[in-house]
Symmetry: C2
Subunit: 245 residues, 2 copies
């Protein structure tokens, strides 16, 4: 299934017509190597991208070398919805692994959305859930210990990848270096390494070769005090909700 369809289907099932409209709109596909900078801070905001395969991250780099990873983009995630309303980009976007993306023009996206209101809603929903994830990251960095924050990040990745069928049991592709992980949770690469080692020592994870295995999901969730609600992955139109309205 098309990655974007897969992603948006979490929000609401899409009709065959909607599915093919999406595939059609995402025709302009290209590939980039690992480390490729897709967009740079201060660039004029022209690219509307959808990640199809691989992984990318938003980040900001500081004065004296510090770097903060702001969010991780997984297959099907929209990269910069609506960004053309801003005068310039406030952060960069780079591919963490060799990735495939689709470029779509502002106009074409608007066309797609106005033809298919449910697609508009689904894309808005995807954007809202990315914002929710950002908020949780702020909690991660501001309130949790390094160990707990790292475990939390790994749990998040597991749930997000599982939702788009990209996990194999408790094992999944995780191409980020320990430095990258550190930059995501606001710690030093050296400390990131020690944290990863501690997780290994506790038999909670196994990691290497660009893959991560969660050995004890329960153990990780307890350590992180992880509650997947913020990912908004439950079916939006669940029976429980329907009963309320």
């Amino acid at each position: 299934m098309h990655p974007v369809v897969k992603r948006l289907s979490i929000f609401a099932p899409l009709s065959a017509e909607e599915v093919s409209a999406i595939s059609l709109a995402m025709a302009n596909v290209f590939s980039v190597p690992a480390g490729h900078v897709l967009a740079r801070e201060d660039d004029p905001p022209i690219n509307l991208l959808y990640l199809l395969e691989g992984m990318a991250y938003r980040h900001k780099t500081l004065f004296e070398g510090g770097r903060q990873i702001l969010s991780l983009l997984l297959p099907g995630d929209p990269c910069d919805v609506g960004i053309t309303l801003l005068a310039r980009r406030d952060h960069s976007l780079t591919a963490a692994v060799p990735s495939r993306l689709a470029r779509i023009s502002d106009a074409a996206l608007e066309q797609l959305c106005s033809n298919y209101p449910r697609i508009r809603a689904a894309i808005q929903w995807a954007t809202l859930s990315e914002e929710s994830i950002s908020r949780e990251w702020l909690v991660n960095v501001g309130q949790r210990s390094a160990l707990s924050a790292m475990a939390h990040l790994m749990c998040e990745l597991y749930y997000r990848l599982r939702a788009i069928d990209l996990v194999d049991g408790l094992n999944f592709a995780m191409p980020l270096t320990q430095s990258d992980l550190g930059d995501a949770v606001g710690i030093t690469p050296v400390h990131s390494n020690r944290v990863v080692q501690e997780l290994r020592r506790r038999k909670l994870i196994a990691m290497g070769d660009g893959r991560l295995t969660i050995l004890s999901l329960q153990g990780m969730e307890e350590l992180a005090v992880f509650d997947p609600g913020y990912l908004h992955l439950e079916a939006r139109y669940s029976p429980a909700r329907r009963a309320n309205s």
Copy 2:
């Protein structure tokens, strides 16, 4: 001028008709006392609010007492655009001071936006700029020292309030307690106090009685390595940009 109009006018000047349409749509006004919880985590997302006067903040509270303030809302800021697409709220919203707000139904807002496309764009822009601020907060908490982060937050407040004409020179209303400020930059109330004292000692700020004065904007900006670009407050349709397109 209506606070929402003032806020949205930063994006683009609004016609008299658009101005009165906004005022009309925001007719359902109510007041809340300081500390009033406007919406709670896990609540069903029904309220669409606009802050008219005062100050509010989004926050998450943890297991064992920790609290992270996720963002500050100033007059004219939309509170929860689009949130009805989510099954439940992932964070709480509370008023920091006695505040006035407008409640507007999902349908009425959609009506307003579809009648006036420029208003839709302006609201989207306001949402995008709030997201940008959130990203900078992540940098604040993850990468800057407590002193630098606190200075950064104060600079941000100054610029945001200035943009909506709520500063008096370098002095403005800042009703947050030192604890609140600490929860915004991810530090302890005790440390927050020491940081504030250090800023005072360096003659960079004066603070008290619910007001903050920046004594040296340059000094604060240097300490924070502050660049207001992420606030996206420059006129969107500036001569410089027009020349490009």
